[in-house]
Symmetry: C2
Subunit: 208 residues, 2 copies
């Protein structure tokens, strides 16, 4: 879940550094673009590393210097997805609970699809239909557990090492996966978050 736009990525707030780093970034993008194109054309498992390297005109060694594993070619990491996640909790509307903020964030960022960006839809389907990619995506997503748990402790006033914070963080990040397979994913996710919200309210005494 959550990766940069397929193809040419939006060069966000990239420091306009030396010529060296620019070349490096160019190579990186050449590889990622070639990979994504091939994956979309013929499927993830049907495309080999050597083939991608050839298409990008680099050696496999170089490829692995940019991407540690094959799956990473698809999840061309978005540097500030974690920041957005934490912001969603910190800057939530007044009176909204933490779980509710996390629910809204999940609903708006994932499987929103509606927008109709064609390339993005194809990308989402690729991930959804390839087990290796789903697993890897979820693993990457869970990397934010610690940071999220910390912010939750912050805004809720609980001690930073209260296991309840980590639990809520983990469960919230797992929520989409937990209800996977339901028709109407939005409703399912909402219901999963209801469980967390009610529990959290009881644990923290109804405040925030």
């Amino acid at each position: 879940m959550t990766a940069t736009t397929p193809g040419t990525s939006p060069d966000s707030a990239a420091a306009p550094v030396g010529r060296r780093e620019r070349k490096k970034a160019a190579t990186r993008r050449a590889i990622a673009d070639a990979a994504l194109r091939l994956f979309l054309e013929r499927g993830y498992d049907a495309v080999g590393i050597r083939e991608i390297a050839d298409a990008a005109d680099v050696s496999t060694t170089t490829l692995f210097k940019h991407f540690p594993v094959k799956e990473a070619l698809v999840f061309d990491e978005d540097a500030d997805q974690e920041q957005r996640l934490l912001d969603a909790v910190r800057n939530r509307p007044a009176g909204q609970s933490v779980p509710a903020a996390l629910r809204d964030h999940a609903l708006s960022s994932r499987l929103v699809a509606a927008g109709g960006d064609d390339r993005f839809a194809a990308f989402a389907e690729l991930v959804a239909t390839t087990p290796a990619l789903r697993d890897y995506g979820q693993k990457m997503w869970l990397r934010h557990t610690d940071a999220l748990a910390e912010v939750i402790a912050e805004v809720s006033g609980l001690p930073a090492d209260d296991p309840a914070c980590r639990a809520l963080a983990h469960f919230a990040l797992e929520a989409p996966r937990a209800v996977h397979g339901h028709d109407n994913p939005r409703e399912a996710v909402t219901r999963a978050f209801d469980l967390l919200e009610q529990g959290w309210e009881a644990l923290t005494g109804k405040n925030t």
Copy 2:
């Protein structure tokens, strides 16, 4: 988490079937035993498939006919761990909530360790210190999500396709992992389940 005793497995309620299946089981155990011995001696990553096959005096092809992937050599599946899980929910003490039953089950079956079976301790450490094994174990454990969700729906009277059932099942199975790393795991797990219990109580209206 949760696998048979290391080494010779307890041949539970094995149907005393034909000579063929006995030989098959013997081969299987020879492989699993050789693998576990080598893993404990030198570490999971330091032992290759070919080496295990040699030690058990079979070909690698044969090995993979018994165990689909390398990790499965360690998790020599316990057939009725799912049954015990479901029973813990179905036959819980009168007046106990579903999440509480799941908590008790988690606390008693996992990391109980205290008993002091030496071989089991070494086995547990092997799993705990090898990321590939931890991940695989969790994945296997999550396989019970569907069955558990069904039982939860049953005993709580909710519609079988209510996403809340799947959510509770998934979260409960993830709970140990969610609070991983805390000193005093029992307390941490308990707190994670508190969150679920309070939420569940609110969703189901305090009954069961």
